[in-house]
Each structure stands twice: as structure tokens, then as C-alpha cells.
Amino acid sequence: MPDPATAFSVGPNGRRTPSLVRRPSRRSRFEAAIRATLFAAAAVSIATTLAIVFSLLNETIAFFRDVPIGDYLFGTKWSPQFQGEQQSFGVLPLIWGTFYLTGIGLLVAIPVGILSGIYLAEFAPTRVRKIVKPVLELLAGVPTIVFGYFALTFFTPEVLRNLLGLGVGQFNALSAGIILGVLVIPTIATLVEDSMSAVPQSLREGSAGLGANKVQTAIRVVFPAALSGVVAALVLGASRAVGETVIILIAGGQTANLSLNPTESYQSMAAFIAATARGDVPTGSIEYETIFVVGMTLFLITLLLNIVSIRLVRKYRQVYE
């Protein structure tokens, strides 16, 4: 370490005055090198995004050289596996399948997730919390392949067919969608709880002081105050469901379907990608290119949902912090 007393600078009058500014030493060069290394590590995440966009864009452009973009975006028949006249690249059935399954999932996950979140934030005694929180964490940690197994081998045959007596196929939207919803419950419940816990205590006290009971306070005061966080939770949950692959691949089947019947088999964008890309698709074939163009579509849709939810989260943080 250089002794500050011996570090001098020469002033305009030729006098040597002790300098308060250290000269760049070996030590500060080391510090700069560390900083540069750390920045390089941070830049890897940028490189990842660029690599994703580059991978997707390359083949997407190649795809649109063969197929007009209008036929892709507005076509109602998806059959890339066929040849000649039968072959068709209309993506609408895949987009519909994705949102149809997500919709069924959210029908389950929104009420269950929000009610669980409200309960955890406003009502749960410590004893109950100590059980419910780990259950949600465990549920969130179960790999999606396990949910897929559960949907195919238990939920479809034993619950939907035997218990409820529904005439569903082996692969159907109802089973895949509901289990998709179970997957999303912990995401929504946890985020709803967080955003409601961020509401200041004074609002609850004010409400109680006006004679509201706990339920009224929770529903009419705390919940509206946390609304942007709740909406962000729902958007993030939807984004997870839209991107989920394996449950739909296993239990939803692989039929590009544009109908409204939940007992039929549907295919989503993510499930199509996994079903088609098994590592041995020849590079440059139109089949290979469909993986990327559908991937690009999925990437853009989830990106949009994420941006919306990040905006909303920022909004509710700003109000009270």
C-alpha cells in the first residue's frame, strides 16, 4: 500500500505538495480487473438473450421464405407433418390450444390461488401457516413431468372417468388444463400473499375502526389496495401456463384442434415444439423450421406477458414503499 505521505504532485510553482489523490497502483489495477470480470459475467445473461433471439430469428426468416406470413398467422389448419396438398401451416389451432388449456388452468388457479393468498396474508394463524406454506412450496417444487404422469395415469382415468363419469379421451384438454392449474396455484397464491402483505397496517386499522369485520376488511380494503400486485400474479401465472410443455405433451395429446370441446385432445405451441424436436430432425427441413417459428411466437407472447407483469409489480411497489 503506497504511503499517502510520500505521494507527491508538483504544483505550478515547483513546490512538491502532498497529493490527496492516489496514483493508480497495482492494487487499483487489480480492482479494475475484478470489476471487468464481474461485468463480463453479468454480460453472459445479455448474450443468452441475444443467442435465443438469434437462434429463433435465423430459422424463422428461412420459414417465411417458404410460407407466406399471412398463411401462418391467420391459417386455421396446422398439419406440417403431411406432404403436398394436405400440408398446412396455419398457427391459429396451436395458439388457440395454448390459450384454451391456459384458460381451463386459470379457471382453477385463479379462485384457488387468490383465496389461498388472501387466507395466508390476512387470516392464517401461525400454526396453520407453518403447514400451508411448506405444502405450497413443495407443490411449486414438484417437477412438471410428475404432474404430467399424475394427469395421464390418475386424473384422467380415475377422477374424470370413474369418479365423475365423464366421457373423456385418454388425451384431453380437461385433465391437462386442470393439472396445469394446480401447477400455477403456488405461483399465484405466493404473489397474492406478498402483495397483500405489503399493504400498510393503517388501512386495516382504519377499516376495523369503521366497524368492518376481518372478511370485509380483507375483501373491500386490502384486496383492492393490492390489486395491481394481484393482477401481476395472474399474468405471471398465465405466462407459466402458456410456456408449460410436458403436462400438455403427456396428457393433452398432440392434435392441433380449433374446437371448444374439453374432452378432446389439444396441442399447445410448447407441446408441439417438444413433440417435433426430438434432436433428430434434419437441419434445414421445413419441419425443423416450424420448431423455430412456433418458438418465436411463444417467446414473443410470454415476453409480452412478462413485461406487463413487471410493470404492474413496479407500480404496486411504488405506492407504499
Binding site: 461485468f39 459475467a41 445473461s45 405444502v135 413443495l138 369485520n213 415476453l303 407483469s309
Partner: protein, 302 residues
């Protein structure tokens, strides 16, 4: 009338808010709804575990753990190659994620000037990457790592890199929180004693946050273990009768083996899937317990 009497009469007539019968009935109804909601999550978890245990438990044995998968005979089938494949993938994944994740988190928390646009870009970018569907990482792996610029082929290294990129945002986000939890006074004290910024980070900030960072890494790895979609897309081997012998070897993994067996037409193979799920869930449970243990044992209270 005295003042006290006036006050008393006024108090008697005052509108003291009272919940009506309807309000109370609704409160009860709403509570029942909430209990039902919480009950549904619990029921789902219990049924799921019960289903997997019922199907899989009779099939788990030492032979199951130490045999290669068979395409024909379920009784001789096992998950040895899947276990080794998963271990190799996790080793590669950890070797990439640990230095990169911690370095990025340190940069963002200790160095980055948030008024600069590129630092904000890195932050927003990581938030977005965390929510990119895993199948899209599979596409990245297929087009950029297995083929394309890196051209590694369908090998352990390619699978490990793909999974590492997938869970990197999780590690960064958790590590940042752990670093942020170290109070500024610790840094100020260290700097005041003449330590440089890096010495402060290395000797004070990192030791103070390492428990939280380790927790994040374990959670990220336990997510990577169960990831199926990206490995399907990059083309992990199905039913290989060999263990990977290096970074350039073909591989399978537990979720891939489970996927292959679940989608098999033969019911006996489907039961093997349940047995493999049990093994995977036990590993995950051990990892999560270890993470909780680390958090409780080593977490600093400031």
C-alpha cells in the same frame, strides 16, 4: 341536564357500527371458501404423492437402481444410466452456474450504477430470462449449442450448458437478495479500515451471504433436475444401455427416462415411470431439506 348526562345520552344514540346478520353469514361463507381453496392444494399434493407411491413403490429395488433400461422386459429395466446422466448434468450445471451466478449478483449489487442504461438493461433482461419458457431454452440448446455456432452434438456438456442457462436467472435473483441482506454498515466499517472494495466483498460481504447464496444454488439445481422439455428438444438419448463417460458422451437423465416410460403403451413400463419419479422426488426432498438446513444453521442475523 349535566354535561355527563348529555354525553351519555348521545353515546347511547350514536351509531356504533354493527355487522348485520347477512355480513356475518357472508364472512362465514368466505372463510369456508378460503379453507376449501387451501384444502385443494393439500389434497392435490397428497393425492399426487399417494398415486406415485402406490404405482412405484413395489418396483423400487436395488436392481432397479443398478440396471440399464430395457426396451422389452420391464422386470430387467432400471435407471442406472439415467442416474449417472443426471449426476453428470448437475455437475456441469453447477460448475457453470456457481461462478457465473455469484459474479453477476455481486456485480449488480456492489458495483452496478443504476443510473447507467446498460446496468438497467442487465437487470430487466434477467427478469425476462427468468420467465422464458424452458422449451425455448431447449431451442437455444438445439440451434446454438448442439448444432450451429458451438456444434457440440447431443452430449453431456451441451445438456449441462442448456440447463445452466435456464436456471442462471434463479441463482442470480436469490444471490442478489442474500447479498442485499448484508447491512451497509458492515461494508462501511471494512472500507473505513482501509480495505478495498474487492477485499470488502471477499472478506465481509460474501461470508455474510454465503448461506443464502448456497440455498439459491441448491434450489436452482433441484429445478434443473426435473426439467424435461429442454432435454427432449436437444435430443437426450432414450433408453441408453451405457453410462456417460465424459463431457462428450451421449446421455439420458431421470426426467427423460420418466417421460419415455410414462408415454409407453405397456402398463408395466408406466409403473417403472412411477418408481423413477419416487427416486427423483426423494433426491429433490433431500436437496431441499439440505437447503433449509443451511438456511437455518448458517444464516446470519444482523
Amino acid at each position: 341536564m349535566t354535561g355527563a348526562q348529555i354525553a351519555e345520552r348521545a353515546a347511547r344514540r350514536a351509531v356504533i357500527p354493527q355487522a348485520s346478520g347477512a355480513d356475518r353469514a357472508f364472512a362465514t361463507f368466505f372463510r369456508v371458501l378460503m379453507y376449501t381453496a387451501v384444502g385443494i392444494s393439500m389434497l392435490a399434493l397428497v393425492t399426487l404423492l399417494y398415486d406415485v407411491a402406490r404405482d412405484g413403490l413395489p418396483k423400487v429395488s436395488w436392481d432397479f437402481l443398478t440396471s440399464f433400461p430395457s426396451r422389452i422386459i420391464p422386470e430387467n429395466s432400471g435407471i442406472e444410466s439415467a442416474i449417472w446422466g443426471t449426476l453428470w448434468l448437475m455437475a456441469v450445471c453447477a460448475a457453470i452456474v456457481v461462478p457465473l451466478g455469484i459474479a453477476t449478483a455481486i456485480y449488480l449489487e456492489e458495483y452496478a450504477d443504476r443510473t447507467k442504461w446498460w446496468n438497467r438493461l442487465v437487470e430487466v433482461n434477467i427478469q425476462n430470462l427468468a420467465a422464458v419458457p424452458s422449451v425455448v431454452y431447449g431451442i437455444l440448446g438445439l440451434a446454438f449449442i448442439v448444432r450451429g455456432p458451438l456444434d457440440l452434438g447431443r452430449v453431456v456438456l451441451a445438456g449441462g450448458i442448456t440447463l445452466a442457462l435456464l436456471v442462471l436467472p434463479v441463482v442470480i435473483i436469490v444471490a442478489r437478495e442474500a447479498i442485499r441482506a448484508v447491512p451497509p454498515s458492515i461494508r462501511e466499517g471494512s472500507l473505513a479500515l482501509g480495505a478495498t472494495q474487492w477485499q470488502t466483498i471477499w472478506k465481509q460481504v460474501l461470508p455474510g451471504s454465503i448461506a443464502g447464496i448456497m440455498t439459491g444454488i441448491i434450489l436452482a439445481l433441484s429445478r434443473a433436475i426435473g426439467e424435461t422439455a429442454p432435454l427432449i428438444v436437444i435430443g437426450a438419448a432414450v433408453n441408453p444401455r451405457f453410462n456417460p463417460d465424459g463431457l462428450g458422451s451421449a446421455f439420458t437423465a431421470l426426467p427423460i427416462q420418466i417421460f419415455a416410460w410414462t408415454t409407453d403403451k405397456d402398463r408395466e413400463f408406466v409403473e417403472l415411470a412411477a418408481a423413477a419419479i419416487l427416486v427423483m422426488m426423494v433426491v429433490l426432498l433431500l436437496m431441499n431439506s439440505f437447503a433449509i438446513f443451511l438456511r437455518n444453521r448458517y444464516e446470519q442475523k444482523w
